[in-house]
């Protein structure tokens, strides 16, 4: 399955490693203050507060994909294109943030501009990720209106109870995401005793033409709420969403530290009246409606050697089992066979349509496992963090395995090199992905 075009891969790796070496050994002396014997200084003028803030980051993010020409999703995406065994994608991203504070009022905006150059051509797009105004008359009461991300849930790679957020990419769970236009209130009360904190967060979310219209059925004012408790040293959230754009759903999450090095968390959601679209190997579609349950259980553990383990198991009750996934991939294969024999794209077009929000979404299957192992400062070398991440479908035993090296030793600069194979048998989720492997390099500068 690994047909690597060696010259392209070598060139790409050389580019990434050159960047790493150049920054590490050539620019370092200029970016640090070489002042070994210098007295410690703290210029308190650095602490002066300004009513406004402008910041963000700029990044260069090239990606190399090793294509799997026998995979169903390769056939679906590349059936009418001629590409080699690898394809590159060059990203340049700019995230800008600004805020202004006056008395009890604060306004905030975050924009994301992305330049992409790939086999599909060049695109540049600017999106307002967040833009809102908040009023905080007391520490207990905060009212906000505008575009924002709510980020509900405790999971690291997945958040089945994040009813008002766009899905996370488990390959990069800490990436900023675009929010929705909402109106919300946070009312918080602290106590002494086993219940230390309580927060009530009601949220109104309009879904009309031109306003949040990708969230669900338009023409509804949706209402959601979250109730947070810090009870017996455990974070507990109860949440629900109702209103018509999506079916009513209920959620629950928790997180707790056990000892100085161990954290455990979980998340659960129940979705009423979920409609699932299924296609068989011949392209016949059917629908079924049922109550879907999603849940996640996870932990973080830090060893004495500073190795961090993040482990999560995710049951995605709205996803497809291995037989359903196999049927879909068979249908794509049939569509491709039809296209190659007579040029008819009808079946492939149907498969593409079916992939929208179903088989083609970020995590379409039923059961997943996420394991991330990272080692802080190996061999006592500060600011280098190697890591390895496995994301796998536990039903068909297919997975992606990414190795990573992160360097944060230069103030405001972050360098990350990642790469790894995507492994699975024919008919399995990862085995039918369009790529055999992926290598990416991210150079991000904060300002």
């Amino acid at each position: 399955m690994f047909n690597v075009q060696r010259s392209t891969l070598k060139g790409f790796l050389l580019l990434c490693v050159s960047f790493l070496l150049f920054f590490t050994f050539n620019l370092l002396p200029f970016m640090f203050h070489l002042s070994f014997a210098e007295e410690y200084k703290f210029d308190v003028s650095e602490t002066e507060k300004k009513p406004y803030h402008v910041g963000g980051y700029i990044e260069f993010y090239p990606v190399l994909f090793g294509l799997d020409k026998n995979a169903a999703l390769y056939k679906l995406n590349f059936y009418n294109r001629s590409v080699g065994v690898t394809t590159e994608l060059y990203n340049g991203n700019l995230q800008l943030e600004g805020s202004f504070e006056a008395g009890i009022t604060r306004s905030y905006i975050k924009t994301y501009t992305s330049y992409i150059n790939s086999y599909q051509g060049e695109t540049t797009r600017t999106t307002v990720f967040e833009g809102n105004i908040s009023v905080k008359p007391t520490h207990s009461f905060i009212a906000e209106a505008g575009k924002k991300t709510l980020n509900w849930g405790k999971g690291y790679a997945w958040n089945p109870a994040a009813f008002l957020d766009r899905p996370k990419d488990p390959n990069d769970p800490e990436l900023s995401r675009e929010g929705y236009i909402v109106g919300s209130i946070d009312y918080t009360k602290s106590f002494t005793g086993p219940l230390k904190t309580f927060t009530f967060t009601p949220v109104f979310m309009p879904v009309y033409s031109g306003v949040n219209d990708d969230f669900g059925e338009v023409g509804h004012l949706n209402f959601a709420s979250k109730f947070y408790f810090l009870l017996y040293d455990t974070d507990i959230d109860l949440m629900f969403l109702t209103g018509g754009s999506n079916t009513t759903r209920y959620g629950f999450d928790f997180s707790r530290n056990f000892g100085s090095d161990f954290e455990m968390h979980g998340e659960f959601s129940l979705i009423n009246g979920f409609t699932k679209n299924v296609v068989d190997r011949n392209g016949n579609t059917s629908q079924s409606t049922s109550t879907a349950i999603k849940y996640l259980i996870g932990l973080r553990y830090l060893t004495k050697q500073d190795t961090t383990f993040i482990l999560e198991y995710y049951h995605n009750g709205t996803g497809y089992g291995p037989a359903d996934m196999r049927d879909y991939f068979s249908f794509v294969d049939k569509g491709y066979a039809m296209y190659t024999s007579n040029g008819n794209t009808a079946m492939l077009n149907k498969a593409i349509n079916l992939s929208q929000n179903t088989y083609g979404r970020m995590n379409p299957a039923l059961n997943y496992l996420y394991i991330r192992i990272s080692q802080k400062d190996p061999f006592d070398i500060l600011y280098w963090t190697p890591a390895i991440t496995l994301i796998g479908n536990t039903d068909d035993k297919s997975f992606s395995l990414m190795s990573e090296l992160l360097y944060t030793g230069i103030t405001n600069l972050e360098l990350r090199l990642r790469g790894g194979p995507i492994i699975g048998t024919r008919g399995s989720e990862y085995g039918e992905k369009q790529n055999d492997y992926r290598i990416d390099f991210r150079m991000r500068y904060y300002f």
Binding site: F42, E97, T138, K196, T199, D380, T411
Partner: protein, 243 residues
């Protein structure tokens, strides 16, 4: 002979209270001298590598009572807006890009370097430790401290304290088995105003990070009261409004 024995016993019996130092009260006094019960302050945290290269962070902190502490990174740009919260044994980190607080543990480090979260978000020593033993060593007391629970980052501390100022000079942090994890050095006693006189520099090194050093410089320590709700997850993204 009996008379001599009675005299010796009498002398010992009357002398004992002079030497029996109340370790718990001494530790509480150390906590009181290090910081007011409720205050705000600024810190510069510097990680220094063996070749002298440095990485610096500017950090605003607020504390209330014995077990509530919160902090906000104001520099460098890559860390700006990150906030931390500690309520007793519970710790969270808020990263603006991630958009929600996540639980962290005391042995992790939000800044890298030799300081871990327990050092950066340190509570009063008397909250986390019992005094096992107090010895007098010339101009210093030597306190042997034992963690009250398993959730505390260091199981044992050896604390050298200046007798005249009742302020720590050096603390050795150890595991249950007595292995040295790091040493904290308290330096440069400074008058911050408002009756707060305490070391302005906290230095640390560790046999686990040979040649590396981390330093915390304190500034603008000021007594200030806060509402309890400032120490909640909901408030973490809004911490800048406290400054």
């Amino acid at each position: 002979m009996r008379k001599i024995l009675v005299v010796i016993l009498f002398v010992l019996a009357t002398a004992m209270p002079v030497f029996a130092i109340d370790g718990t009260k001494l530790l509480e006094q150390i906590d009181k001298n290090l910081s007011p019960e409720s205050y705000e302050s600024y810190r510069k945290i510097i990680n220094i590598e063996p070749d002298g290269r440095k990485k610096e962070f500017t950090y605003y902190t607020v504390k209330k009572g014995r077990d509530k502490m919160a902090g906000l990174f104001i520099a460098p740009a890559s860390e700006k807006g990150r906030s931390t919260l500690r309520l007793g044994d519970n710790m969270w980190l808020y990263i603006p890009n991630v958009g929600k607080p996540v639980r962290i543990t005391s042995l992790q480090s939000v800044v890298g370097g030799v300081f871990n979260n327990a050092d950066i978000l340190a509570l009063d020593y008397a909250v986390e430790y019992n005094v096992d033993m107090v010895e007098e060593k010339g101009k210093e007391y030597l306190l042997q401290l034992k963690a009250k629970t398993k959730t505390v980052a260091y199981d044992r501390l050896k604390m050298w304290v200046q007798k005249d100022k009742i302020l720590p000079v050096k603390i050795e942090c150890m595991t249950e088995a007595g292995m040295l994890i790091k040493t904290l050095y308290f330096k440069d006693i400074k008058d911050f105003g408002g009756g707060i006189v305490r070391p302005s520099v906290l230095e640390t090194d560790s046999p686990l990070y040979k040649g590396y050093k981390s330093v915390m410089i304190f500034a603008k320590i000021k007594q200030r009261s806060f509402k309890d709700e400032a120490f909640t997850l909901t408030f973490m993204p809004k911490m800048e409004s406290l400054r």
